[in-house]
Symmetry: C2
Subunit: 511 residues, 2 copies
C-alpha cells in the first residue's frame, strides 16, 4: 500500500512518516473486553482456540513471497490465495487471468440481505534479507516494546497479517457453526505493489462486476492502531501517477548519446541540464505547487464539512510528536498545524522521488552524461483523473519545448471518495464505537490505493479501510504484525479477528 | 589525467570522446626510421636491447596500484617510485612528505647549461576487475587492431606506460655511457587522481622550488598518437573545480531530515526541488553558459593568434568522425565545427557530472527524499582562478537565497598557459618535426591538469605535454599502452623512448 500508519516509524525504516494523519490522538481510553456476551462470546472462544492455527497460517503464507516486480511466485501465490479462500469458506473460488498477473475471486453467499466486499492483495514488496534483523520469510516472533509479541516478515502488515486475521474471523464463525450475518465477496490481486496495472480487468469481469455491484461497500483490512489504540476512518484518498521523466541525447537529437568527457560541455549540449530546465517548469519556485498548465481546472476545493473534519481530527493529533517523527521543523509556508493538515488533504503535488544521472558514486567523475532521469509521483485530488493528468503533463512539456523529454508512466490510481453517510462508513464508525476504539474521520488520505476501481463506474460502490490491531514497516526491513498485545489499548490477532466479526454483524444490523 | 586522447574511445569505455582535439588529422605521413645515425643510433640499439627489461619494469609497476582515493599502497607506491628513479640515474632522490600522500623528488645534474623538468604521478584511478576482460594488475599483452601488441592494466597509459618509457630512454642513454644533454628534475605526486590537493606543497618545498625554477620548462609524458600518428602540442589548459551541491532538510531547516513518505509533499518542503531551483540559477536556460554572478569578469577572450591556431588545427580534424565517436549530432547552437572548437577552448562551463537523490533503483518508490546532490565540474579559463570561482559560486548561491545549499569542493586546478615561443614548446615542435610526426598546436586544452602549479608563481616556468606512442582507456576498463606497433605511423615503446631521447637532445641544441 502506498501509505503508512502513524506508528510506522522506527530507526530501521527508510520511509519515516505517515499519511494516516487521522490516527494519532492521545486519548487514554482502554480497549474493553470485546464481545463478552451473546453470539460473539462463542466466536471469541473459537478465535482463541484457533489462534495457533491462525498464527501458523500467517507464517506459512509469509514463507511464500509473491513479488510482481520480480515475477516471483506469481502463479504459486495466486493458487495459495485461492486455497486460503476455500479453507475460510469461500465458494466458486476462481483464479482470474489478466494481461498481467492473475487475481483471485470468491464469494460466500448465505442468502443474507446485505453483502460486504473485501479487497485482498497476495503480492508483497521486494526485500533485501541483508537489511533484516530477523529473516524476512521465517515469520519469527519478536517483542516490540509498547506493543507486544509480533511476527516479523515481508508482508506481515502489508497485507498478509490483516488479511489472515480477517480469514481467522471467518474460521471462528464457521467453527461455532454460526451463520454469517452478511454475504461476502472477495476480490484479490497480485500486482498491488506495482500499481495495480490490471486490477480493473479483474473488477470489471462480468461475474465479478455483478458480485461487486451487490455490495454495500468494500474494504481493505487495516491494522493501524497507534500506541493509544486510535484508528482513522478514511472517506477517500488522493490519486497518484508514478512516472519517470527522461532527458537523453538519444531522443533530443542534441547532446551525446552516451556519457562523454565533461570538458566537451563547452561544445556539446547537456541532457542533464535539459532535465533540470524541464523540471523547473513543473512547480512554483518554492517547489510546493504544481505549475503544469491547467492542473487545477478540475480540482474540487475541500468542502466546509471536509475542512471541519480535518480540524476536528487535528485536535487528536500531536504536532510536536509528528514533527519529531518526520524530522521536520516547519510545514510548508510555516502553516499552523491545522492549515498544514488541510493543505495535506487539499493540494495536488508534484514530488521528486529520485534523481539519477551520470556518475552517482562517491566523489566525482568528469563526464557529461547522455541521459538524466527524474522519478516523480504526482498526487491527484478529486475531480482530477489519472488520464487527464497524464495528458496535461505531456501537453505542458510539449508546450514548453520539451517534447523530447520522455514521460514513462509506470502506474497510478485515480482519487477516491466515499460518502460519510454510506452504510459502509456508518458501520465502521458504529463498530469502532462498540469496540471502544477512538476513530477519527479522515476526510481524505494523502496516500493512494486502488479504491478508485471500486468507487468509480462501473462498480460505483463505497470503499474504505477497516480494522484494529497493529503492525508497521510496510516496504521496510523488519516489517511486523502484532500477535500478542501487551498494550491494553491495542488489539492482538485474536481481538483484531473479533473486530472483523463485530464489523460483519454491525453492517448487517445497522439501519 | 582529466582529459582523453582522440583515440581514447572504444566500446568498453564509459567515457567516450576527447578533449585532445588538436590531434586528429588525416595526413598519411609515415613514421621515419628514427635516429639511424649519430649518437642516437647507439641509443636506439640500447633501447632495443633493453626493451624486455623496460616492458617487465612497466608490468611490475602496474602490479602495485597506488590509489589515493582508497588510501591503497601509498607509502609503498612512493617508495617504489623512488627506486625506479634511482635505477634510472636520479640522485638525491627523496620521498617528500605532505599533509596528504607523499611525493617523490630527484635530479640528474650533469652540469649541462639547460635543465628540463618532468612531472610524474605514481597513483592510478580506481578500478573494478569485474569490468575488465584482462586482469587489471597483470599487464598481459593483447593485440589492439590498428595499433599492435599492447599491455593491458590499470595505469598502463595514465601514466605508468609513458613514464616507464621516459625511464627507458634514460636507461638507454646510460647504457651507452652517453652524457645526458640536459639536467633533469623529476617531481612526482601520488594524488593526481584525486585532484592533486597537496601537490603545491611538493612543488614549493624550498629545494624543489629552487630546482624547478632552473628548468627551461617541465612536461608530462604523453602517448596520444592517433591512428595517423598525429599529436597535439598544448599551449595551456582549462582549470576545473569539482564539487557537490547538496540540498538537505538537515541544513535547510525545511523539508525532512531523512526520507519520508511522498504523500507528505503536500505539507512538507522538498530538498530535491530546492536543488533543482538552485541549479537552475547557475546556467542560461539552454544549459550552455554559466549564469553565476560575475563569472566572466576575469575571462580573457581568446587572442586572434589563439583563434587562428584553432582554425588551423580544425583543418586536420574530421568533424564527421568526431561526431560519430561522441554520439553527437549537433554542436551547441548548431555552430559550424571551427566555431564549436573555438567555443570549446574559449568558454568556461558548468557541467552536471551526476545527479543523486532519493530512490535511484529500477521503477519508483514513493518517498520525499531528505537530501539531493548534484555533482558538478566547472571548467575555468584564463584569467579565472579556482579560488575566485569558488568564492563567486558561494556568493551567487547566497545571493539567490540558497545559503543552505552546501558546496563541497573536492578538488581542482587553475587554468594554465604556456607561451608558444617558450623554449619548451619550440623544442617540442622541433622534435616532432625531426621525428616526422604531424603536430598540431592546440591553443588550449579543454581538459585540466596540475600544470598551473608550474606556470603560476612562484614556480613560473613553461609546462606542457610531450611524447609519441599510443595508449587508451584512462579511467576505463581495459586501459592499455602500445608496446609493439603494427601501425607504421604510431610509435611502440622503443620508438617512443627514442622520441624522449630526441627531445632531450633537441632541447639542449635549440636556440
Amino acid at each position: 500500500m502506498d501509505f503508512h500508519a502513524t506508528e510506522g516509524w522506527n530507526r530501521r525504516e527508510l520511509i519515516r512518516g505517515t499519511a494516516m494523519l487521522g490516527a494519532g490522538a492521545m486519548l487514554m481510553r482502554p480497549l474493553p473486553t470485546l464481545a463478552a456476551d451473546g453470539p460473539m462470546a462463542e466466536i471469541r472462544k473459537a478465535a482463541e482456540a484457533g489462534k495457533e492455527a491462525s498464527v501458523q497460517r500467517l507464517r506459512e503464507w509469509i514463507a511464500l513471497p509473491s513479488i510482481a516486480a520480480e515475477n516471483r511466485n506469481m502463479p504459486e501465490g495466486a493458487a495459495y490465495m485461492a486455497e486460503l479462500a476455500k479453507d475460510a469458506g469461500f465458494t466458486n473460488v476462481e483464479i482470474v487471468p489478466t494481461d498481467g498477473q492473475p487475481g483471485v475471486f470468491g464469494t460466500i453467499d448465505v442468502g443474507a440481505p446485505r453483502t460486504l466486499g473485501i479487497y485482498f492483495m497476495y503480492d508483497v514488496k521486494q526485500f533485501d534479507p541483508a537489511e533484516w534483523t530477523s529473516p524476512p520469510l521465517e515469520g519469527k516472533l519478536v517483542d516490540k516494546p509498547g506493543f507486544g509479541l509480533s511476527m516479523v516478515g515481508r508482508g506481515a502488515v502489508n497485507q498478509k497479517g490483516p488479511e489472515a486475521t480477517f480469514l481467522a474471523a471467518l474460521h471462528a464463525i464457521r467453527a461455532v457453526k454460526a451463520k454469517l450475518p452478511v454475504n461476502i465477496v472477495l476480490v484479490c490481486e497480485g500486482e498491488e505493489e506495482i500499481g495495480s496495472p490490471h486490477f480493473r480487468q479483474i473488477a470489471t469481469r462480468p461475474n465479478i462486476l455483478a458480485a461487486l455491484r451487490k455490495c454495500d461497500g468494500i474494504f481493505i483490512p487495516a491494522s493501524w492502531q497507534d500506541r493509544n489504540g486510535n484508528v482513522a476512518v478514511n472517506l477517500g484518498s488522493k490519486g497518484v501517477i508514478e512516472l519517470e521523466l527522461v532527458a537523453s541525447g538519444e531522443k533530443w537529437g542534441r547532446g551525446p548519446k552516451g556519457d562523454i568527457h565533461s570538458s566537451l560541455k563547452a561544445m556539446v549540449d547537456s541532457p542533464a541540464w535539459r532535465l533540470v530546465a524541464a523540471l523547473n517548469t513543473l512547480v512554483t519556485p518554492d517547489g510546493n505547487t504544481p505549475a503544469i498548465e491547467g492542473w487545477f481546472e478540475n480540482v474540487r476545493p475541500l468542502t466546509d464539512r471536509e475542512k471541519s473534519l480535518i480540524r476536528e481530527a487535528a485536535k487528536h493529533l500531536d504536532e510536536a510528536q509528528q514533527k519529531q517523527m518526520l524530522g521536520v521543523q516547519h510545514w510548508i509556508d510555516d502553516l499552523p498545524y491545522e492549515d498544514a493538515l488541510i493543505r495535506l488533504a487539499q493540494e495536488p503535488t508534484v514530488n521528486i522521488e529520485g534523481l539519477v544521472a551520470g556518475y552517482t558514486g562517491p566523489g566525482g567523475k568528469t563526464i557529461l552524461p547522455g541521459r538524466a532521469v527524474a522519478k516523480l509521483d504526482l498526487r491527484l485530488v478529486p475531480d482530477q483523473t489519472r488520464a487527464e493528468a497524464e495528458k496535461k503533463l505531456r501537453a505542458h512539456l510539449d508546450k514548453h519545448g520539451f517534447s523530447d523529454v520522455e514521460m514513462n508512466v509506470s502506474g497510478g490510481y485515480d482519487p477516491t471518495e466515499t460518502d460519510e453517510n454510506s452504510r459502509l462508513i456508518r458501520a465502521e464508525l458504529a463498530t469502532y464505537k462498540r469496540l471502544g476504539v477512538q476513530a477519527n474521520i479522515n476526510a481524505r488520505l494523502a496516500g493512494s490505493w486502488p479504491g478508485a476501481t471500486f468507487t468509480a463506474p462501473p462498480v460505483s460502490i463505497p470503499a474504505g479501510h477497516f480494522g484494529i490491531g497493529h503492525g508497521s514497516g510496510a516496504h521496510a526491513p523488519d516489517e511486523y504484525y502484532l500477535i500478542d498485545s501487551t498494550n491494553p489499548k491495542v488489539a492482538g490477532i485474536v481481538d483484531a479477528a473479533i473486530g472483523y466479526a463485530e464489523f460483519l454483524y454491525t453492517l448487517a444490523a445497522i439501519r
